[in-house]
Symmetry: C2
Subunit: 229 residues, 2 copies
Amino acid sequence: VNPKQIAAEKAVSYIQDGMRIGLGTGSTAAYAVSALGRRLEGETLRLSCVATSMATEQLAQQHGIALETWDRIDRLDLSIDGADEVDPQFRLIKGGGGALLREKLVAMVTDREIIIVDDSKIVPALGRHPLPVVVTPYAWQSTQARLITHFGVPAPVRYAVDGSLFLSDDGCYVLDMAFGAPLPDLETLEARIKSIVGVVETGLFIGLCQHLIIGSSTGEIREQQMPRQ
Amino acid sequence: VNPKQIAAEKAVSYIQDGMRIGLGTGSTAAYAVSALGRRLEGETLRLSCVATSMATEQLAQQHGIALETWDRIDRLDLSIDGADEVDPQFRLIKGGGGALLREKLVAMVTDREIIIVDDSKIVPALGRHPLPVVVTPYAWQSTQARLITHFGVPAPVRYAVDGSLFLSDDGCYVLDMAFGAPLPDLETLEARIKSIVGVVETGLFIGLCQHLIIGSSTGEIREQQMPRQ
């Protein structure tokens, strides 16, 4: 049993005719796109979908899922995405795949954000996974220096597989801040990092997950729901 | 007498051999680049210069000013830039030209930021000029909606001369928030706007100007200095 896949299929079962849907990014979210594609082969669902990355756009097109443009959408009923860490309050670290900016923009307008993970992503406190921070390329070295000075932790720039600097879909670089767990001052940390000149967005998602689906390699699926804050 | 030009020439007179220099953007800053080019024809100055826009990069090259890369610079001794509004506390609205992100990144690492303006830019309180806010293109409509909801003022997207959306050098759009003067809660406004998901930077510059040079059409030049906060 693939824990990511069973969680993804469960999440896709909540999609109903007429819904506006946000499609997440990453290996777990990709299972959801595939599962939605299979549902669309068997039933007629009129959906308005948006994708959180160019990779997911391509995947959606491969699965026959039409995509909507943002001038025609102001809210989403349901979005399905993965996460790198989830704490007991449904707070998340996202951005290991580098799509956190678009994922956060989608989550912000989503009524029910379903986060699908395997049970290895559930943690008592966030921070073992580095916190991805999106920065503007211009003078990024000075932004990195400010982050290191302000927070006193390493903030290495992310590299792509080919050895060049990792460039996000939005043309930004990503710094992976190594706070360690537990993240300090979690409620204010997001605002403090975002306030730094040169920072575009952080991978901290607070109050943005309403529904958690956890797949286990034993085949068990656990679900937890939280009202939107 | 051109008030912008005489202010620019005064600012350039502070540039000394060995300095690291930030070159601003816009019509007033362009006079400074020209004036620096003329100085370099007559004297030998070893400078390390960075430009705050692609337009200024081109202008610098046309004037024989070599540009440095950010992996070789961590601080700047002196930068020269313009502003759309300046208040009595040296607080600025910048971004009418759309280069505010790079201008702010440069100002952040500058020991002496010299702002050069004609006297029409001096105001008792900021806000008559719209406040430019840089946003990410993806789902920018949702970011605009959040800004309008949070602040209750119009935030139209900026258009280029050709009728397309204005795109900054960093590939972002600009919303011009029409607060009106005086800007409310000036000290916290910058942080509040920046905290909105999708916002990259605001055109509010607080504590980032150390030296003001004001040119008048009468030929008078006034200077005011403030220690770095």
